[in-house]
């Protein structure tokens, strides 16, 4: 299908060229030459091609570069020719036309109610595609989280509330044995000071701990009343798994859309200079200031490209000794940055272990101890990239490579620091260093009477802290900075200047936040909702800071490739969360005292247990699906489909190259023919001359 579209485009280019040639003559020469040559084939009949017969001539007409008057005249002529069709065909045509109109109207209506459409257009117009792609990405995450919350609410939260209210008619499985493991008392005793509620809200303890927010509140209810049967633990587990699958599908669908554009426009090296010159100017730019900034931006881009070329030429002309020196310097600096990152990881590990050990402090000090891992991670995320940037100045890479290296380092730092936090949590829960504590309950029940809630609380604190830091930065750093730069002019403020909206680091912040939510979703079911609210408020905060405090960036990000980059990093975060999920589901023993899995060996074992209660035929069917007789042919057929799609992609690539070569050939043919015509004319001219001179004699 897309191949035929390519061919049609190829012929349309040829067509429009011919039409264009004549229409150019029409516009630049006098009106009298209007009658020259057929601009449009008046004898062409609007041919029917299936149901699209009606739209084809109309589309063709709109897309032709002709003046409006001519298009109108042609359309009148077309409408006068009524094709003779049967009743059935005319009914089909009118139905097809109304269906098409309905579809177009629906699409228009849907796009007009899209969330924040005007705001995004405004941002794109004033700050360009790169910044706009950040906000589009943020909107995507808001919608993703909102829909996931519906999934979780529908299958876990609402049944849980219903079963809690109608607490008759259900059977709770008693967990016998292991008396000391089932001790869990999260409700605060006695008088609670009023500010304790605020501290509890911030750290997820106290009144929040034993509530729908965290895992510990949910019971292992298996409702069984007559025909209605609802297994809450199974629903909890499967909802979480489907939540991950749903997010994966959304991300891949979005990536597919972006990749299709990138592949269709050719994989060869696209000329960056011609792109800047011909597609760099945004015609939607309005306002004197924006225009001047855009021009400065383009100037800077061109200078940057020229500079990069000069550097490349210089790098190519280095002697062997200089090359060796440069590479060894780069190796040393890379080791230095890795060491820095390693130091950050060690600090996070130590801080987490320390914070886990300090449960008893209350008040502000207790709050700081609770938030210690988050504080260390955030500090690391500020300090380490800054120092790596300083190091990168000595590495002497070209500007674009420097940006990519900095991004890779930041991604690595953020994701792996989250991984280190999780690792340190789990090593305390499963008693890595002190196996005595885990002997009786298979997990550290002294420190963690309900370890899942604890993990959920950590993720909740990370999310909240991230949000608070962003708002605090906005109020305490960005607005004052703009105030000082605008109203004081000394050397310092001129050097610091107004803030620039850095897209990559902001996007990494979003990806980090989303990864935290994915990791914590199993332990804190309301976390997607909290995250939706957080990102929703974040959109407005970032918009406010963008318009009030930032100047348009001089270095811009290419928008299409950056969408793919954002989604790849998001996928990387998803993978990390998936590893965490699999480990929690399959390895660690669930708490005895709380949660829907309290009597099971691992969380995953609810699935086999329920499986064996199914009817025998269903069991056999599912066994067959998992057996070799079924899965090997399935695997083989999916390999075949994969090979087919890959072959199709390569065929398209080759046909794109062939069409390019054909275009080149046509140009050369034209030159050749024009030269032939010139020669012929000259020869005819000479012959006429000799004729003339020969005759009278």
């Amino acid at each position: 299908m897309e191949l035929s579209e390519l061919q049609r485009q190829g012929s349309a280019i040829g067509d429009s060229y011919h039409g264009a040639q004549q229409s150019v003559r029409l516009r630049s020469k006098s009106v009298a030459s209007n009658q020259n040559g057929p601009l449009f084939d008046w004898c062409s009949f609007p041919t029917e091609r299936g149901e699209d017969g009606e739209s084809e001539p109309v589309q063709d007409l709109r897309e032709r570069p002709m003046p409006m008057r001519l298009k109108r005249a042609i359309r009148e002529v077309q409408q006068m020719r009524v094709p003779v069709v049967t009743n059935w065909q005319s009914w089909k045509r009118s139905k097809a036309k109304s269906l098409r109109r309905f579809r177009a109207d629906t699409e228009g209506a849907l796009s007009s109610i899209a969330l924040w459409r005007k705001a995004l257009l405004n941002i794109g117009g004033q700050f360009g595609g790169g910044v706009q792609s950040y906000f589009i990405f943020l909107r995507f995450l808001v919608v993703l989280n909102f829909l996931s919350f519906f999934l979780i609410a529908g299958f876990v939260l609402i049944p849980s509330i219903v079963f809690q209210i109608t607490s008759t008619n259900n059977t709770t499985v008693d967990s016998s044995g292991k008396e000391d493991c089932t001790v869990y008392d999260p409700n605060p005793q006695g008088l609670v000071l009023f500010y304790q509620y605020f501290l509890d809200l911030l750290s997820g303890t106290g009144f929040m701990e034993y509530s729908y927010v965290f895992y510990g509140y949910y019971n292992n209810t298996v409702a069984d009343s007559g025909s209605f049967h609802y297994n809450l633990p199974l629903a909890y587990l499967l909802t979480c798994v489907f939540y991950f699958a749903f997010c994966l599908i959304c991300i891949i669908a979005r990536m597919g859309r972006a990749l299709r554009i990138a592949i269709a426009t050719g994989s060869g090296t696209v000329g960056s200079y011609s792109k800047i010159v011909f597609t760099g100017w945004d015609y939607g730019c309005q306002g004197d200031r924006t225009t001047k900034l855009k021009q400065k931006n383009l100037h800077y881009q061109l200078q940057l490209d020229l500079e990069e070329q000069r550097l490349q030429k210089k790098a190519a002309s280095l002697t062997l000794g200089q090359t060796v020196g440069l590479y060894s310097l780069r190796m040393f600096l890379m080791l230095l940055s890795i060491t820095l990152i390693g130091v950050a990881f060690y600090c996070i590990f130590k801080a987490t272990v320390f914070s886990q050990g300090k449960n008893e402090n209350t008040g502000l000090l207790g709050l700081i101890y609770e938030y210690l891992p988050s504080i260390v991670i955030t500090a690391g995320n500020f300090v380490v990239p800054f120092m790596c940037d300083q190091i990168a100045q000595f590495e002497k890479y070209s500007p674009s490579t420097t940006i990519i290296m900095a991004l890779l380092r930041s991604v690595f730092l953020r994701m792996v620091s989250l991984g280190v936090l999780l690792f340190s949590l789990w090593s305390s829960i499963t008693c890595f260093d002190n196996l005595q504590d885990c002997r009786s309950c298979l997990y550290n029940h002294n420190q963690y009477p309900c370890w899942e809630t604890r993990v959920g609380q950590e993720m909740y604190k990370l999310t909240l802290f991230d949000f608070l830091i962003t708002v605090a930065m906005l109020i305490l750093v960005e607005f004052p900075r703009r105030f000082f730069v605008d109203h004081w002019s000394c050397a310092l403020t001129r050097w610091v200047g107004r803030q620039e909206f850095l897209v990559p680091s902001n996007v990494l912040g979003l990806v980090y936040g989303q990864t935290v939510v994915w990791t914590g979703a199993l332990f804190c079911p309301l976390l997607p909702l909290i995250n939706t609210l957080k990102f929703f408020i974040l959109f407005y905060c970032k918009k406010v800071t963008l318009f009030s405090n930032c100047r348009p960036a001089v270095k811009t990000f290419r928008s299409t490739t950056s969408t793919i980059f954002f989604l790849v990093v998001l996928l990387f975060g998803w993978g990390l969360a998936l590893v965490a999920l699999i480990y929690s589901l399959a390895q660690i023993h669930p708490s005895w005292s709380c949660g829907p899995f309290r009597s099971l060996e691992t969380m995953w074992s609810i699935v086999p247990n329920t499986f064996y209660t199914l009817s025998l035929t269903t069991q056999e069917f599912l066994f067959y699906m998992g057996s070799q007789a079924f899965s090997i042919p399935l695997f083989i057929s999916s390999c075949v489909v994969l090979c087919y799609v890959a072959a199709l992609a390569s065929v398209y690539g080759r046909s794109v190259d062939l069409l390019k070569a054909e275009l080149k050939m046509e140009g050369r043919d034209k030159h050749f023919l024009v030269k032939l015509i010139d020669e012929q004319r000259r020869k005819m001219g000479d012959r006429v001359d000799t004729f003339d001179t020969g005759a009278p004699n």
Binding site: S28, P67, G125, S274
Partner: protein, 182 residues
Amino acid sequence: MFYNPYIVFFSCNHPSSTFFPLSRLFYRYRDLAPQLVPLDYTGQPDVRLPYELIGSMPELKDNPFRQRIAEVFSEDGEGNMTLDDFLDMFSVLSEMAPRDLKAYYAFKIYDFNNDDFLCKSDLEKTLNKLTRNELTEEEVRMVCDKVIDEADLDNDGRLSLEDFQHMIVRAPDFLSTFHIRI
């Protein structure tokens, strides 16, 4: 709002002649010079707004290419536009116009000497308008050489419409930048 017979006639017969809702554009056109543009267009009056009025529209007044845009879309080639030309212009510059159509008109805009080729002088003028004359002569020359190197397929030292369209196909940002929101 009035009942405008021209718009009704126009929209009844040609609901899809442009990519755009028509009456909004008509009122924008009229607002430029209410004393020149009649409300009733059924007689198809020959009204032509001078370039100065078109160039003063907020969407165009800061665009460095506004004169070329007006010249390309106007019938007389001088920038004085009739309603048809006006509608044509915003129709092509809307987000729904197809890429080939936009590429064709973009080519015309950048072709300052109207010879159907983008030669070096055209590129130099384009570049100077893009960067507000801030690049040095040397840099302008280097960039023009690079552009012709990259985009010229038939090796004649200048860009024809096919070279231009071929290059546009590989630049996915073109559709979003060659777009005026009105």
